[in-house]
């Protein structure tokens, strides 16, 4: 099994140590970067960016959103999971908008962190009940969610539509490839094409676009 390399930015040592101990206990995870804050994490990821970073929202120097924006620019392939004490909708919405692949509360069960990492690594995002509700609610009530999607009627091919549908049903790239009898590389190609068309930064962005433009329906 391929090892997932992880970077952690967290200024509370007790929490950080606990998190690292839990992750290193798993056979396929390896924490390769420890940082006090976002700035330090970005510094340390320069040469060897980890597959995934876990960011505490509130760290000195740079908060989770600023770090996410910067990381996405430098290492677009690094997945980002934000861990936070803040449970207000605004924090969740703004984090996802800036490109985070998932948002967890620090008082969520630690086992959920593992679940989230697995989900982010395989399908590109992790949303639990709380975050999906908040994001969907935001779309319905305000309708002004950024990233600003272009509203020109975007044409999707049949395959693209199928992929969007499957992405929103939490299919992984491998699963989509299998279902559509295509290679995973082809699916990756389609997915980045869809992102470009919709202006989304990640899979969550695609799903939000799809909900908003009624390409898919929510049960």
């Amino acid at each position: 099994m391929k090892t997932t390399t992880i970077g952690i930015s967290e200024d509370h040592h007790i929490y950080r140590d606990g998190l690292i101990a839990m992750l290193n206990n798993k056979a396929n995870y390896s924490v390769i970067i420890e940082a006090e804050n976002g700035k330090e994490l970005i510094e340390k990821s320069k040469l060897n960016p980890p597959d995934l970073v876990i960011l505490d929202y509130l760290t000195p120097e740079m908060n989770g959103i600023q770090t996410t924006r910067k990381l996405k620019k430098i290492h677009p392939n690094t997945k980002i999971l934000i861990l936070s004490m803040y449970d207000s909708n605004e924090f969740i919405v703004k984090s996802i908008e800036s490109g985070a692949n998932g948002y967890l509360l620090k008082d969520d069960d630690p086992s959920e962190i593992i679940m989230a990492i697995e989900s982010v690594m395989s399908i590109g995002y992790y949303l639990n009940d709380r975050t999906s509700k908040i994001l969907i609610n935001q779309l319905i009530t305000s309708g002004d969610l950024k990233p600003k999607f272009s509203y020109n009627d975007i044409e999707f091919s049949a395959t693209e539509r199928q992929i969007i549908e499957l992405l929103s049903r939490e299919y992984s790239t491998a699963e989509i490839a299998k279902a559509l009898h295509k290679s995973t590389r082809t699916i990756d190609g389609y997915r980045s094409g869809i992102m470009k068309k919709t202006g989304a930064k990640n899979v969550i962005g695609i799903v939000m676009y799809a909900i908003k433009n009624e390409l898919i329906t929510i049960d």
Binding site: H12, Y15, L19, Y86, S88, N89, E90, K106, D107, P110
Partner: protein, 256 residues
Amino acid sequence: MAGEDKIDFIIVTGTGGMLLLAVIVIGFIVVYQRKMYSKQRELDLVELETQKKLVEAEILVKEREQKRVAQELHDEIGASLTAIRFLFEELDDESSIKPKLKSSLKDITQKVRRISNDLLPSVLEEFGLLEAIRDFVNQFSSTNNISINYVCKDYSSTSVKKDVELSLYRIVQELTNNIIKHAEATKIEISLKSVKNSIIITIIDDGNGIIPSLANTTKTLGLKNIESRLQFISGSIKREKHQTKGTIVTIYKPNL
């Protein structure tokens, strides 16, 4: 004849003199009173200024202290509580107390978060007034089961001081709470906008239309709070009956 002339002269000059004297006395009194009046006004102004400074100092000290406590709670207590959760994972005993402990730990963490947020609204601190009111509206409408419509237009936090945003946020909170407590409303609409150099917030409800007086001597703590906040940011408030039902409150903060 000469004697009569003399008497006439005496009468005329005498009367003239008396009149002159009277004019001088009256003039003196007028000047004196004016002086006294302007002095009194000066004193009043000084007193008003001192009072305003006192109110400002009081609010500033209170907010600073609240901020300190909120951050300590959030950063220190909150972080320690969440760190304990990892220790639980390492506990391998399957005693029935474990889930109970876990759930009360979660409960305490949530309470700490709530108290910290009441003391210092984290959304306001991180993002600004526009988002903070939205967050307040979200939470308030779900806990009080009332529909609140929130509209914001052309508002940007960048040119607004945090002190001013916090005061406006507290005023909105207070007024919305008052509506729930006293107005028997079913709908509330809050709007926030910037026009030129000023901020205008309006709160409309469809309740009973009773306007609690700010000038009343027996005003509640909440109303006093609104008044001192307004004084602090040099803002004003207008409360009117709204069409056939409810009230419309306009908060105006000029000169950003």
